[in-house]
Amino acid sequence: VTQLINFYPDHAHLLLSKTWSHIWVCALGLAIALVVALPLGIYLGHKHRGAWIALNVSNGFRALPSLALIAISIAVFGISLINIQIALFVLAVPPILTNAYTAVDQVDPDAVDAARGMGMREREVLLQVELPLSWPLIFAGIRTGAVFIIATAPLAALTGGGTLGDIIVNQPTYHMSGVIAATILVVVLAFAADGLLALAQRAVTPEGLALPKEIHSIVPPTEQVEIAA
């Protein structure tokens, strides 16, 4: 335990730089997943179409093993930043896509009818009615995706490195104290990201709309997928 506590001041510079690069790798991965999955999920949900696409892409991606994706991408592209980003993308898309689709698809039809009745255009219906009512569930999906990404990013150490994984997979150099110290940082990062996104979730949730009941945000959303399938 003393070794573990001493590891932080002794390797402060190393830990700081690895944490920083960890955050960047994760932020990039989450950004790519968001750019692809969020518009797709929202669009399909708005049109109440393509449940088949949303659910099968999610289920298929969820089945793909991260390390296998990394291995194949090394064989194809060589060692680069692409390897880990492919794995992180595949990991984050299912919760984001599923939740975005489900959220917009299940907005109370009466509210949408009322909006149309008030003469709102299609765009206004989406931006002013459907999305505000969907944000809580959409953010729940983003939180899950972010946690998955942060916990899996250490695998980047196997393909050129640049995350806290560099310390975690190098037990011969940093000993068990280093492994545990870096792991604790990963866990802290995961909870910090989850907490920050929870604040954002609360901020965008309209007053009078209760947050979705959930045991824990980190839990991957599954039962909705299955019942719909």
């Binding site: 991260s66 296998a68 916990a151 792991t183 039962e223 299955e226």
Partner: protein, 243 residues
């Protein structure tokens, strides 16, 4: 033989022939080499991978199911258990396996403990959600028919919760297939072994073949469970056709 060759002035170093061009240039995927080495190099790893997965999901299911039944009967146990198991999702598995080594040693047990830990949450949560999602009308009918609490659980609640329970098994299984590749970081078992080996040697065919086999295994497992789900709960299909 070499003595004879030496006496005849023949080559001392035996000539084994040359590897084909693909292997020499470390091509992305050398099909011939893969076929030649499949039996010795990859198939045993596939079998190990299936064993690791089946054992982990089996044990994980028994534990998660039991805990879900307890939490269903006594709701106060739900939050502590859900929170502890949720914590696993924030711990990188590659670190978790290493941290377990000083406790349980470098062996299969360590790997299975890690794999089981990561399966618990999904199956626990889905079983509990399934049991709670039973329609009140069904429970009223059961009560009206004079079923005891135990009979209600076995004949009404569990059958109706089956789709949700199997959905949990499905996610737990593909997750385990994925994490079992990472477990090879500790001890060379399963399809992760050729991948970690290739990280040392740089052999692209190892990367590609082991990665592809792991993906095929995961998708097959997923498919088998979906089919099993349809067989076990045919009323779900009927309902979705009706709506």
């Amino acid at each position: 033989v070499s003595a004879v060759l030496l006496a005849q002035g023949g080559p001392v170093i035996p000539h084994f022939g040359e590897a084909d061009k693909c292997v020499r240039t470390n091509g992305t995927f050398c099909w011939h080499w893969f076929v030649d080495n499949f039996g010795t190099r990859f198939w045993p790893r596939v079998v190990e991978h299936i064993e690791l997965t089946l054992i982990a999901v089996g044990i994980g299911f028994v534990v998660a199911f039991a805990l879900a039944l307890i939490a269903f009967r006594y709701p106060r146990f739900e939050m502590p258990f859900a929170n502890v198991t949720a914590l696993f999702y924030t711990i990188p598995s590659i670190a978790f396996f290493q941290i377990m080594v000083p406790v349980t040693g470098i062996n299969r047990l360590t790997i299975e403990i890690g794999l089981v830990s990561y399966t618990l949450l999904v199956m626990f949560r889905n079983t509990l959600t399934g049991l709670r999602g039973v329609p009140p009308e069904a429970l009223d009918a059961a009560q009206g028919m004079g079923l005891t609490r135990r009979q209600t659980l076995l004949r009404v609640e569990l059958p109706l919760a089956t789709p949700a329970i199997i959905a949990g098994v499905r996610v737990a299984t593909v997750t385990t297939v994925s994490l079992a590749t990472i477990a090879a970081f500790i001890t060379p078992l399963g399809l992760g072994a050729p991948i970690f080996n290739a990280i040392q040697t740089g052999a692209n065919t190892d990367f590609f073949a082991a990665g592809a086999l792991a993906i095929i295994l995961a998708l097959l497992a997923d498919l088998i469970i979906v089919l099993a789900q349809r067989l076990i709960s045919p009323w779900m299909r009927a309902r979705s056709r009706a709506t």
